[in-house]
């Protein structure tokens, strides 16, 4: 059973999929730290929505790519008043280009934002989770990584890396009551996909439509729940059948 006072940290939660995840976890009884980097208004709007629905949340500013994951976890625990027993590594950026044209900087930014912080936060959050014999880690991956998407070698490497990391850390900590899973969204209606040719892309999706952030959040909510205690090391695709 989830311990009282359990707090969930969702990175990159001021908008899009992260915001929907924060709201879904709050609706499921988690106290939620709504992490954001540069959009305080967005984060505060998420907090307000959670509070109006009867939940508890706080906006916490931190750039997860800067490496100070211990300080972020400490701040979350102090401000929310409970141990971080759910961690959703959602923060991500895209810097697209075909490999021939991709700069070192764009490679490094994507790996340094989408993959490395997820490892550091996971490692540091595991301490408290192992102590509590309870923890839920959900890494937001992508259909891109397990499958190709020309122009996104950096993004694909980071997301495939998240899935590999998920499986291995899941195996390391499973017997302490800590689960580690990934959710792999497909083509979801967010700012990140707003500039893409939606009509063309949905033609190759079996469901023939974009997904919503709420549909991704529902998968995370399940994986973070007590009901999912025996689910670990897996990747749940929320992609309208794209990877089928």
């Amino acid at each position: 059973m989830r311990p009282d006072n359990a707090t969930a940290l969702v990175t990159g939660a001021s908008k899009g999929i992260g915001a929907a995840i924060a709201r879904a976890l709050a609706a499921d009884g988690w106290k939620v730290a709504v992490n954001y980097r540069s959009d305080p208004e967005g984060a505060e709007a998420v907090v307000k929505a959670i509070e109006e629905a009867g939940g508890t949340a706080k906006a916490i500013q931190a750039d997860v790519s800067n490496g100070d994951s211990k300080a972020l976890l400490k701040q979350v625990e102090e401000e929310l008043g409970g141990p971080v027993l759910a961690l959703v590594n959602n923060a991500g950026v895209a810097r697209d280009n075909i490999a021939l044209q991709l700069s070192d900087e764009d490679w490094d930014v994507v790996i340094g934002t989408n993959l490395s912080p997820a490892f550091r936060l996971t490692r540091d959050a595991l301490r408290g989770m192992i102590k509590a014999r309870y923890g839920r880690i959900v890494n937001i991956a992508s259909v891109v990584g397990p499958r190709a998407n020309a122009g996104q070698s950096n993004y694909a490497a980071a997301k495939a890396g998240l899935i590999g990391m998920t499986k291995t850390i899941a195996a390391e900590v499973a017997r302490r009551g800590v689960t580690v899973n990934a959710v792999a969204p497909g083509f979801i209606a967010t700012d990140m996909t707003a500039d893409l040719a939606t009509d063309e892309i949905v033609k190759v999706i079996p469901a023939r439509r974009q997904g919503t952030p709420e549909e991704v959040a529902a998968a995370v909510r399940f994986l973070a729940s007590d009901d999912a205690g025996y689910v670990t090391g897996t990747t749940l695709y929320v992609d309208g059948g794209m990877s089928a």
Binding site: I130, K131, E172
Partner: protein, 81 residues
């Protein structure tokens, strides 16, 4: 923080090991972690318990050299003095 003495550290270690499923009657200074079926995750958690109690951080390299329960106790005492 608790004071680092051999007696205190031994007490902490002996009390921690049963949390990992070790039979109390098997715990001696001479027992090897391999014989006690204490693996790398257990040792990592033992390191955390020691760090929380005494403020002594055992790194991966340190833990790799430890063979027996006594080795672990001696290492903490040595690093803390």
């Amino acid at each position: 923080m608790a004071t680092i003495t051999e007696e205190n550290v031994q007490k902490t270690v002996f009390e921690a090991l049963p949390q990992f499923g070790v039979d109390e009657s098997q715990i001696t200074r001479e027992a090897t972690f391999e014989d006690l079926d204490v693996d790398s995750l257990d040792l990592a958690e033992l390191s955390q318990i020691i760090e929380d109690e005494y403020g002594v951080a055992l790194k991966g390299d340190d833990v790799g050299k430890i063979k027996t329960v006594g080795d672990a106790i001696d290492l903490v005492v040595q690093k803390g003095s």
